[in-house]
């Protein structure tokens, strides 16, 4: 089977999972809603009145004020994080680079926390998003400048840099918490756990605008990211303006991570697990990888969110905790495998 057919097939399969996850997520919860009511409500929204349309206003408002924004947020954040991971791995030349692991998410979190304390949240979601982006950008630049040598990044250097940046950002968040008033403090703590519950349409709109633009930009960069796998010098010999590609990619990673973290907190390992599994199935060519990662990341978070809502009756687990619970061991497995293959922590 040609890689292209595999890529399209996998993407369609994942899209099916997304649709299934959306329906499942829309009907599941404290208030049980039937799939036909969901379909009817959606059809009514586009102006088609059918017999399926829910008559109960509570059903209608539950769908439109609680579940739909939440589902969309999960989709968008998952897609943004997975694509950010794939782009990051390409420019670092290392499959272990991931926004959460190397501290970019923490940087964004520090930015967002600062925004909350400074009252930038009165500007609406946009203020938090801008601060999160700036934090993510600073962190990405820092990791990039510190950890690369000769166009590649050694695992050890990458992880040590990540430890340092994570430590610094966590200290920064602790300081921000310390100086914050009670209301801000509560907001930060809750948000830090990583949750897509209580997403507002205004937030979803911001994440959608930045996320969709970012994913499209990543797809446009895909071919050049392929060439980067040959090393920077060879990529340049093949006509790639490597300096510009690096800069654009770093801003892209920061944008996608920043906007994902801004409203949902740190949801780690999505950018590691999703591109890795997709690479194993369809190969490393970035066009297919980025498209499938976007869909796969969305599917993962919609399903993970469903799990967090249903695993413990009457309570919701933080989604960031769940992804780290799965992603942590997976990361360890990758490390172990890479170490065995290269005979050291190179």
């Amino acid at each position: 089977m040609s890689p292209r057919i595999r890529a399209v097939g996998l993407t369609l399969l994942l899209a099916g999972v997304v649709v299934g996850g959306i329906v499942l997520s829309a009907i599941t919860g404290q208030l049980a809603i039937t799939p036909t009511e969901v379909a009817g409500s959606l059809l009514r929204a586009v102006g088609l009145d059918t017999v399926w349309a829910p008559t109960d206003p509570i059903v209608e408002s539950t769908l439109w004020f609680v579940r739909f924004p939440r589902i969309l947020m999960g989709l968008l954040v998952g897609a943004a994080l997975a694509v950010a991971g794939a782009v990051m791995q390409a420019i670092f030349g290392n499959p272990l680079a991931e926004p959460g692991v190397v501290g970019v998410s923490s940087g964004a979190a520090l930015g967002a926390a600062t925004a909350i304390v400074l009252g930038a949240s009165v500007l609406g979601g946009a203020g938090i998003a801008v601060f999160a982006f700036l934090g993510a950008l600073l962190a990405t630049l820092l990791v990039y400048v510190v950890s690369r040598a000769g166009g590649r990044t050694e695992v050890v250097t990458l992880l040590l840099t990540g430890i340092a940046i994570n430590a610094f950002a966590q200290a920064g968040i602790a300081f921000v918490l310390f100086v914050a008033d009670t209301a801000s403090r509560e907001q930060i703590v809750f948000w830090q756990l990583g949750s897509i519950a209580g997403s507002l349409w205004s937030q979803v709109a911001i994440v959608a605008a930045v996320g969709v633009a970012g994913v499209i930009a990543a797809i446009l960069l895909a071919q050049r990211l392929d060439l980067l796998a040959l090393g920077e010098r060879n990529a340049r010999h093949l006509g790639v303006n490597v300096e510009r590609l690096r800069l654009v990619s770093i801003v892209l990673v920061a944008l996608l991570t920043g906007v994902a973290v801004a409203f949902t907190g740190i949801i780690a390992f999505v950018g590691l697990v999703v591109p890795h599994i997709i690479r194993m199935i369809i190969g490393p060519a970035h066009r297919g990888l980025i498209i499938a990662s976007a869909v796969g990341g969305g599917a993962l978070l919609v399903l993970a969110d469903l799990l967090t809502r249903t695993m413990v009756a009457g309570a919701e687990l933080p989604i960031g905790m769940l992804t780290s619970l799965i992603g942590g061991p997976f990361f360890f497995y990758l490390l172990w495998r890479q170490r065995r293959r290269s005979g050291g922590w190179a």
């Binding site: 499959p95 392929d226 796998a229 040959l230 303006n241 490597v242």
Partner: protein, 261 residues
């Protein structure tokens, strides 16, 4: 394509210093269409640095390198990629791409402006010349060093440029493939392309090069035909090793042998 013998790249008074140490000093050299220019010399003589300067990767501290009469530093990466290709010594690939994908990457500079047929034909020719047909479906990362080197060569050939730089293309290869790579270089030159190759094997350089540039401690010790450059006295002095030179056939291609007991 330019007329055979015309200078495509001209280096004048090129000097490169690194940490205050002279890596190259006062090099004057032309890269000409239709010929193989071999850069030889002991380890650390500055061969790879000279190749970097000629290919536009590095800019000299003094002197000037022009490509088709224009300073090589003025070209954009894409323009340069359509004029010259470079086979580097290090050819690691970060992700497990398939061999066919790697070779196709050589077509990137022509993405706009060439037809699908052009691309396919260039890839097929490159794959045949580098003898990597049987590897096409494999993952690059699973190949041996010599196989990786040949796949990288195929990628460089697929780029179809008038100037081809090869930095130690034979280093990881077995005897047959060493000869085949040099024959490929010969074929490129016969098509009117310019080939610049760094080699360690003086006999290989002597057998295939049109001109040899012998570097010694960053200076151009000699530049000329293999017969002119390869004298026992000169090679012995530059390499610090007694050698004997045999002349083969009517052309008198030199074969260099160290004096052994």
């Amino acid at each position: 394509m330019s007329a055979p013998g015309s200078a495509l790249i001209e280096a004048r008074g090129v000097s490169v210093r690194l940490d205050g140490r002279g890596i190259l000093t006062g090099i004057d050299l032309d890269v000409r269409a239709g010929e193989i220019l071999a850069l030889v010399g002991p380890n650390g003589a500055g061969k790879s640095t000279l190749l970097s300067v000629l290919s536009g990767d590095a800019s000299p501290n003094e002197g000037e390198v022009t490509l088709l009469g224009r300073p090589i530093g003025d070209y954009r990466a894409l323009e340069l990629a359509r004029l010259r290709s470079v086979l580097t010594q290090a050819n690691a690939v970060s992700f497990p791409f398939r061999v066919i994908e790697i070779v196709q990457m050589g077509r990137n500079p022509w993405m706009r402006g060439s037809t699908v047929d052009d691309d396919r034909e260039a890839v097929i020719r490159a794959v045949e010349a580098a003898d990597v047909e049987h590897l096409l479906g494999r993952r690059f990362t699973s190949l041996s060093g010599g196989e990786q080197a040949r796949v990288s060569l195929a990628r460089v050939l697929a780029q179809s440029t008038d100037i081809v730089f090869l930095d130690e293309p034979t280093a990881a290869l077995d005897l047959r493939h060493q000869e085949e790579v040099m024959r490929v270089a010969r074929g490129l030159a016969a098509q009117g392309r310019a080939v610049v190759v760094v080699v360690h094997d003086l006999s290989l350089a002597g057998a295939y090069a049109d001109r040899i540039a012998l570097l010694d401690s960053g200076r151009l010790d000699a530049l000329g035909t293999p017969a002119e450059v390869m004298t026992a006295e000169r090679v012995s002095r530059v390499y610090g090793l007694e050698v004997r030179i045999h002349r083969l056939g009517a052309s008198g291609r030199p074969v260099v042998l160290p004096l052994r007991d």
